[in-house]
């Protein structure tokens, strides 16, 4: 099958690779570009662990064609920390023990990041709504909700 060249920005760096026409972005990120932050959970759009931002909007990368990202800006949880400094959401997740096994964490962080970029001071219901497409098997959600609300409260969250 003919491969298609695709170029996009990934966490601020220009990246280029060759993909199959039907290849999803998740596969391209993980296998092609070595970014393992987005996880492969269901592959069918129901668990949210593959969530990434495309031009700032949350997308399920398992359901997004890689070729559709040509020229766009893809952001994953790998790009959240600034060198050794955690993003305020990451710091809040740590402070609130918002991860046990951690499998849902990159998707949760990304969903939360998309929320705070649009709505820096969300209500609890808005946080719940924003992560309602992300399944967590371990934490019971409460610490995740608390962490996102805390990150929203800290001034640094505005750069999310």
């Amino acid at each position: 099958m003919a491969k298609h060249p695709v170029q996009f920005r990934l966490n601020g760096s220009d990246r280029a690779t060759f993909v199959d026409g039907a290849e999803n972005l998740l596969n391209t990120l993980r296998r092609g570009l070595g970014d393992f932050a987005p996880k492969y959970g269901c592959g069918q759009g129901t668990c949210g662990v593959c969530t990434v931002l495309v031009d700032g909007e949350p997308h399920l990368s398992c359901l997004t064609l890689a070729v559709a990202c040509e020229g766009r800006h893809v952001e994953t949880a790998s790009g959240m920390a600034d060198g050794p400094d955690f993003h305020p959401l990451q710091a809040a997740f740590m402070d609130h023990f918002a991860a046990q096994c951690g499998f849902c964490t990159p998707g949760m962080l990304t969903a939360a990041r998309a929320l705070l970029a649009k709505n820096p001071n969300p209500t609890r219901d808005e946080v719940v709504e924003a992560i309602s497409g992300n399944i967590c098997r371990c934490t019971g959600y409460e610490p995740i909700i608390a962490a996102i609300l805390a990150a929203a409260g800290s001034s640094g969250a505005r750069r999310a």
């Binding site: 129901t46 096994c101 992300n134 934490t139 019971g140």
Partner: protein
């Protein structure tokens, strides 16, 4: 349509570990030449905090800073033998094995330091900040790092320790049936308040309140978090999860985990936990471990709360709206039960 509220409670005496062919765990600890320690375990951390708890226990026993301890649970092929991470046995069994290994490694560490300081190892103490000194004479000291280097490059000594903790198989007495398979029990009591919709059969968990007695709590935040997550799993088992929900036509049933119901972030109930500590005599620093009991009392408490609310006893999991509606129909309508023993205003 009307909403009926009910309260149910359940308590649990929970045995830690199991009794198949006996219940052993091993741990191995060695120092690297930089004075940092590696703990090798085959117990797996699934997110419950096994690594963190082992790290704390090892650092405390060795007498070194926690940042200087690394826990490796990577490979059960090459690691020391362990029965596994199940039956809520992690903290209790592996913790004790880690203590045994750390004690032995500490003994060698102090012998190596004694040789460098030309004193008796019995006179040495650690300060927990990476130094070893003569008791009562802090100036006669050596760092753990310098000791590890000397052991490796001068003395030719391995700073290492082996640990095993074994609860032996408890045979059943043929006459009396008596056996003693467990040495540590944890305890909990949980109260669930629910509301039941008599038209849809839907149950909403309004709040849960519990007290857990877990022995010494080695990492309070992780225990709290494990209890909260486990309570969510309890609600999920009680009201949602089944691979085989009843559908009149099996064609309409779920085909994979995508269609397997669990409560989402909008379905969680406020949960208040009180943790009580009654250290276990044979636990590591008195620890027992919460494990599976985080979820256990939630199920009977919700079943009792549903009965209290509408008089329906559901004895099969999950307690789906359909089962509750069938129960209400069989009873000829809702039969709210009396409420006892709560504050007058709890409704």
């Amino acid at each position: 349509m009307a909403l009926y509220e009910g309260r149910g409670m359940a308590s649990v005496n929970y045995p830690i570990g199991m009794n198949l062919g006996g219940d052993p765990s091993q741990a191995l600890i060695h120092s690297n030449p930089d004075g940092k320690f590696t703990v090798a375990l085959s117990a797996i951390d699934l997110g419950q905090g096994m690594k963190q708890v082992s790290r704390q226990i090892a650092a405390e026993t060795l007498g070194v800073p926690i940042e200087d301890v690394y826990v490796d649970t990577a490979d059960s092929d090459t690691g020391p033998h362990d029965m596994g991470s199940f039956a809520s046995r992690g903290t209790h069994r592996m913790g004790n094995a880690v203590i045994a290994a750390a004690r032995e490694a500490r003994g060698v560490l102090l012998e190596a330091a004694a040789e460098e300081l030309e004193v008796s190892a019995d006179d040495l103490v650690t300060d927990g900040r990476g130094n070893i000194h003569v008791r009562g004479a802090p100036s006669r000291s050596i760092t753990v790092k310098a000791t590890a280097l000397a052991a490796q490059f001068k003395q030719g000594r391995t700073i290492a320790g082996r640990g095993i903790f074994l609860i032996p198989l408890s045979a059943v007495d043929a006459e009396t049936g008596e056996m003693n398979p467990n040495t540590a029990f944890a305890h909990a009591c949980l109260v669930a308040d629910v509301s039941v919709d008599d038209e849809t059969g839907e149950v909403t968990v309004l709040r849960m309140t519990s007290a857990y007695e877990l022995g010494r709590v080695i990492n309070p935040r992780m225990v709290e978090q494990q209890l909260a997550g486990g309570a969510w799993m309890g609600i999920s088992h009680a009201l949602y999860e089944t691979p085989e929900p009843y559908y009149p036509d099996p064609e309409h049933g779920p085909r994979d985990f995508n269609e397997y119901l669990m409560p989402g972030p909008g379905d969680i109930a406020p949960y208040h936990v009180t943790v009580l500590e009654r250290p276990a005599p044979d636990g590591p620093f008195g620890g027992k471990g919460p494990g599976e009991m985080c979820a256990n009392p939630v199920l009977p408490a919700i079943a009792n709360a549903i009965y209290n609310a509408v008089g329906v006893r559901v004895d099969e999991l999950p307690m789906t709206p359909e089962k509750i509606l069938r129960g209400i129909k069989a009873n000829g309508g809702v039969r709210p039960q009396p409420r006892r023993g709560g504050p007058a205003n709890w409704r």
